[in-house]
């Protein structure tokens, strides 16, 4: 299947960033339509579309929207998770920079559907460009009367603010993001069934809708064209509907964002990105750093879809697809992944705080040539002790890639431990690996 540009259709168009250019291309029509509809009808439309959360977990969006109390007793908040931090993912960045109004329109639609009062766009601190673009778009939307008091004469008031983070991957986890927005350390909060859902008690204990940038950006299209139309996209898959932006990076010729319909294969995606650079395909991390790694054979057979990817041995995740060429040392790559999680663990729960650091220490030792054969078994054990035992998903996300790589590329680890250096070598490998390089040949 070729690329299906929906959200990214006008991404290259500079005029599209301003409200005038956006409205010229049919922007805010979805919102206007929504405002003319009953609130429940909007949610039903989303339900019909089969839209699922694009942040990584793939939770059906309409359930969140529908979960907000209909009889309002407290302020309702609409929260946009723009704290994109997953290594390999950069789709939200492009969406916010190039099509900020799309996301804002989606948030206002969500606000209308759930009687929202205030919307917050939580953008990671590094994304200053995005924040500027979103802020400008919000200000424009106010002037055009899509935000503020008595929106389009409906009598409904809705405010929206930009909030910037300050450097923490953990804040991309929805409850940690709420903690961070409320001025706390970005640590996750108790989740259902241990505490009420955010739709019941989220920000400041009030009902809160929280979605990813891409999820919100889909809403205007669904409203304009109808949920049923949206559901026709990706109909070849089990339960994944619509389009998904994949951020392709690594050893490919044309890294960038590619929007595809569900049901496309990873091989087609690789082709869109211009094929491999510097060697043949060795492995692929299809959905951001936290998903299990696939080898070349699995990659070529994988179909993109929430359930289909699980069958292939990995996950859609947030769509950060990294292709690795034959000169990549999997051990070093996995060590770097583990280092990322050890540095970004918030420290709240024991398995993640201690386990991620321990895994990193072991992999670092192996990478420096001090590995022991029993380390492989130990790493597997540690992974199983973290997976599912941690407070939030970060622990699981730290364990999956390590466990996955040990399953898919056991020979690489064994070779490294036995010989004290990597199975791959050459200038390409040396260009990648950090100091100190393994002692054997370099």
């Amino acid at each position: 299947m070729p690329e299906t540009r929906l959200l990214l259709k006008h991404s290259g168009d500079a005029a599209y960033r301003s409200i005038q250019g956006y409205m010229d291309k049919g922007g805010y029509a979805g919102l206007k339509k929504a405002l003319s509809m009953d609130r429940q009808a909007v949610i039903d439309e989303i339900k019909a579309s089969g839209l699922r959360g694009r942040g990584g977990a793939g939770f059906p969006t309409w359930i969140k929207w529908n979960g907000i109390e209909k009889e309002k007793t407290k302020p309702h908040y609409i929260l946009c998770n723009a704290d994109e931090g997953e290594p390999g993912t950069f789709k939200d960045k492009e969406l916010m920079e190039n099509t900020p109004h799309l996301m804002i329109e989606g948030m206002i639609i969500a606000g209308w559907a759930t009687q929202g009062d205030v919307g917050y766009v939580y953008i990671r601190g590094e994304f200053v460009d995005c924040a500027r673009a979103v802020k400008k778009a919000i200000d424009e939307a106010y002037e055009a009367g899509f935000l503020g008091k008595n929106i389009q004469g409906t009598g409904w008031n809705f405010d929206m603010y930009v909030h910037l983070g300050a450097g923490s991957y953990e804040c991309g986890e929805e409850s940690a993001l709420m903690s961070s927005l409320m001025g706390e350390r970005g640590m996750p909060r108790l989740k259902f069934p241990h505490a009420p859902l955010p739709t019941v008690a989220g920000l400041w204990d009030c009902p809160t809708v929280i979605n990813n940038v891409e999820t919100y950006a889909c809403a205007p299209y669904i409203l304009v064209n109808g949920g049923e139309w949206y559901a026709t996209l990706g109909a070849s898959t089990k339960n994944s509907r619509g389009t998904k932006i994949f951020s392709v990076s690594g050893h490919v010729n044309r890294p960038g964002n590619y929007e595809i319909e569900f049901g496309t294969t990873l091989a087609e995606l690789l082709e869109m990105a211009g094929g491999m650079k510097g060697g043949t395909l060795k492995a692929c991390v299809p959905g951001g750093s936290s998903v299990p790694i696939l080898n070349a054979e699995q990659t070529m057979n994988a179909v993109i879809g929430y359930e289909e990817m699980v069958d292939a041995g990995s996950m859609v995740g947030s769509g950060g697809c990294m292709f690795l060429n034959e000169h990549t040392c999997i051990v070093t790559f996995i060590w770097r992944t583990a280092l990322f999680y050890a540095r970004e663990s918030c420290g709240k729960c024991t398995p993640c705080r201690e386990g991620t650091a321990w895994m990193e220490q072991i992999l670092d030792r192996i990478r420096k040539g001090g590995g022991r054969m029993e380390d492989i078994e130990l790493l597997k054990e540690i992974c199983s002790q973290i997976d599912g035992r941690s407070f939030c998903g970060l622990g699981d996300a730290a364990a999956w890639p390590v466990a996955g790589a040990l399953k898919v590329f056991p020979e690489e680890f064994e070779y490294f431990i036995r010989h004290g250096h990597s199975i791959v070598d050459g200038p390409e490998y040396r260009r990648m690996a950090p100091e100190p390089l393994t002692p054997a040949k370099v």
Partner: protein, 209 residues
């Protein structure tokens, strides 16, 4: 092993009393904070934005006076503010950075595209290691986790700008350009972040009240 004597308590520092804290925010900063407080139902939520303001006001990092001032302005305890500030990597708590902070992403995609070799180049050129500052106080180089610009790997961030993909030559050019730059990039980044959160109508709201 050195043991800190329990009996050496007389010299222990105590936290400053509220009246001992100097409030150094400029008038502009106070006004900005006032506007930002309008965004949230409680004062606590403004901790992150307020720390950004403080980082700008105190010259690109957060000395203990800055923490104390933020705590006082938002009615929180010092320890809590310090806890929040030390959690996030973009706040530089306690010690100043160089005038220009070069943040090199070495995470997965950048690692695949040779970020470590690039970092080695910068390190040897400036003669410093991760987290160190050049003797003239111009540059600090820091390793950061994924900046989410993997399509431009290897990428580095200076102030609010991303540079990528970069190689040794472009890095040299960037460093040259920065040397002539007068305003500190750390302050500029904090300022940009504060400005990005100040909406047009905030001013109206505050002045309208």
């Amino acid at each position: 092993m050195d043991v800190i004597q329990i009996s050496d308590l007389r010299g222990r520092p105590r936290a400053p009393r509220p009246e001992e804290v100097n409030l150094n925010f400029s008038e502009k900063a106070v006004r900005e904070l006032e506007q930002l407080l309008n965004h949230y139902p409680d004062k606590k939520s403004a901790i992150l934005p307020c720390l950004w303001i403080a980082q700008r006001e105190y010259g690109g990092y957060l000395p203990s006076e800055a923490i104390a001032e933020v705590a006082l302005r938002l009615d929180r305890s010092y320890a809590e503010i310090e806890g929040v500030a030390t959690f996030y990597t973009m706040y530089h708590v306690g010690h100043p950075t160089g005038k220009h902070l070069i943040e090199v992403c070495t995470c997965l995609s950048c690692h695949l595209c040779g970020a470590y070799r690039l970092a080695d180049h910068i390190k040897s050129k400036l003669g410093i290691d991760w987290g160190e500052t050049t003797p003239d106080g111009m540059f600090t180089i820091e390793e950061v986790e994924c900046l989410d610009a993997c399509d431009r790997a290897p990428v580095l961030q200076i102030s609010d700008q991303y540079y990528g993909p970069v190689d040794d030559k472009t890095v040299d050019a960037i460093l040259e350009k920065l040397k002539s730059e007068t305003s500190p990039s750390t302050v500029r980044l904090a300022d940009e972040i504060v400005q990005a959160q100040l909406h047009k109508r905030d001013q109206e709201k505050v002045s309208g009240n």
